[in-house]
């Protein structure tokens, strides 16, 4: 069977939704003629025409604002940020218009804002960011971050069908490195559900995005070398978080390690630590620990970026410390 890459899975998901629902359209820089900087929208202009695949001026705020306006009139826009780093230019529209609109006067804003996030490809401070927490901290939004091709497709479909604004973070490191066989039939991955990627009783590693693979590798090594069985949870959805799965893993193992590529202070690990403290403190056999990027911009040069990114070794170190606690 043919394997589908992560990036192709996103493309398929959008394509199928555009076939299924006339209200779905995409707008962004270079999404039409060029097919997108990472080719997520390749071929769409030809198939769907230039009113549904719109090359815009370099105006991230207008891209999102226009998507909001269209959504208010019943459309299902997908706004592409060429790199997710540029979402900062649309921050106001997203957090003040899209996020708060339903609450204020009942009119939902079903838009998807998506783009390539994450490091590992030497993109430097402006082509490697992980902006999730800016949006996880904004009531009214949803935030998802798939790690597998299956989820990439299932979550983009869920995001497009969602009645509320969804920030969809695709990890550019995974675009062509991850592939798998996908079901032929239509499916969605419900927003708000995590996936247990590996079962284990000794400790739980919670993570998402590209870090999932480092966590899984670390878990294998832990099992092989120390007989430690780590449960690995792929959060997938950062807002809302799947509390049941998170708390379940915490209760089962008593020891939780959160791993994220995002910088440390104010990262989602803190939120998870707080939830676990509040809800299942009595089950804890050790502190909630975290392995994260340090509090710096994402540096460009390979040795610096490697130092910056969490990896298997850093996870192993923290996991062993926690296991021994």
């Amino acid at each position: 069977m043919a394997l589908t890459t992560y990036v192709e899975a996103i493309r398929q998901g959008i394509w199928e939704e555009m076939e299924r629902d006339q209200r779905v359209f995409i707008l962004g820089e270079d999404v039409g003629v060029y097919g997108g900087a990472f080719k997520v929208t390749e071929g769409m202009l030809e198939r769907f025409g230039d009113l549904r695949v719109i090359d815009t001026p370099i105006s991230e705020s207008a891209i999102v604002g226009a998507a909001i306006g269209a959504a208010l009139l019943g459309m299902r826009p997908i706004a592409e940020m060429q790199f997710i780093d540029f979402i900062s230019c649309a921050f106001d529209q997203i957090t003040n218009f899209a996020a708060k609109n339903r609450y204020r006067w009942g009119a939902g804003v079903p838009i998807v804002i998506r783009g390539p996030s994450g490091g590992g490809v030497h993109g430097g401070p402006y082509h490697s960011q992980n902006p999730e927490m800016y949006f996880v901290h904004t009531p009214g939004l949803k935030v998802v971050a798939p790690a597998t091709a299956y989820d990439a497709k299932g979550l983009i479909k869920a995001a497009i069908r969602d009645e509320d604004p969804v920030i969809y973070l695709e990890h550019k490191y995974l675009y062509r490195r991850i592939k798998e066989e996908l079901p032929k039939e239509d499916y969605v991955v419900p927003i708000g559900t995590a996936a247990v990627r590996r079962e284990g009783r000794d400790l739980a590693i919670l993570t998402y995005g590209a870090m999932l693979y480092h966590a899984l590798e670390a878990a294998e090594t832990l099992a092989r070398e120390g007989g430690i069985q780590a449960e690995v949870v792929d959060l997938r959805s950062l807002l809302p978080l799947d509390k049941d799965t998170i708390l379940g893993a915490a209760k089962k193992t008593g020891k939780v390690l959160v791993v994220h590529e995002d910088t440390r202070t104010g990262g989602i690990a803190g939120e998870i630590a707080a939830i676990i403290n509040e809800e299942v403190f009595e089950y804890l056999d050790g502190p909630v620990l975290r392995v994260t990027a340090p509090d710096t911009p994402v540096p460009y040069s390979p040795p610096l970026e490697e130092f910056f990114l969490p990896n298997k070794e850093k996870i192993l170190k923290a996991a062993r410390q926690l296991a021994a606690y």
Partner: protein, 353 residues
Amino acid sequence: MLTRERRATARAAAASPVGRPGGEAVLVPGDADLLKMLHFMKLTRALEYRIERKLYRQGKIVGGVYVGRGQEAISVGAAMHIRRGSGEEHDDIVSPSHRDMAVFLMQGVPPERILAQYMGRKTGLTRGRDGNMHMGDLRHRLIAFVSHLGDSIPVAAGCALTLRMRGTDQVSFCFFGEGATSRGDWHEGLNFAAVMRLPVVFICNNNQYAYSTHVSRQMRVERVSDRASGYGIPGETADGNDVLAVYDAVGRAVARARRGEGPALLEFVTFRMTGHSAHDDAGYVPKTLFEEWERKDPIRLFESELKSRRLVDALALKEMESGIESELDEVVAWAERQPYPEPEECLTGVYHE
């Protein structure tokens, strides 16, 4: 309340609609239109007077109050061209700014619900979640203003994009003050609309102040409409205190947009006859300017015009006013009776439920 709402909607739709779906805009207002304009200018002034000079001072308004006194001709003259009452597929869509009370009224929002909004009551348009002119209702084809000036420009363009996709001749109306034109979003929205040739009419009330900031510190151009040439779209400046001039300029721009010829930027010069908000005494505005603009009061000018056309006389005006006042007595009484939202409602409606 529903009865009231239906009544108001009916009233707003009743007077001859300016254009028929698919038809041409009518550029010369008929007598009924003229009277309708006068009515809504007066209703707006009276309602805002109640809010700013009565209820606010009585401590009955929850937050800030921004009124459009002296600027009524702009909202009214423009809103005459908003097609409404014929269903979603025909009606226009509107993004008013924070000084466009008349637009709400003319789109059929009952005055009492606006008051309930100002008073933080459950029956306000936002059910107490937001205040003053920050309200919308898609049934009335109104998109709520957000404080952040300029944000509504790309949103209005996005509405127009949808209309263009659907191939209708509907139009997106977008209102703002001259100060908002300094925002980046204003630029991005105008440029986007221009490049995509979208059916949106940009309507600027240049009341010469943004809070305490004079327009000369907001921009170096003489006229806001000078900015249009940077987008390759038509720009036009007209007297914002002459409701017929507004009616004319907006009518032409709307007709153009309906024909698929793209956006236009209209500037209506007027004056903010109050402080920025009810708590601001506008001490920074030279008194003489108030005097000068008081003489150009748009309602008085329009009354004279209609008198000279023998459409109204002193008695008719008096009747119109006392009709409005007694309606507003009722409206205020109704609003004051409205309940506040239950505290727990704070938690609902962040997401689709």
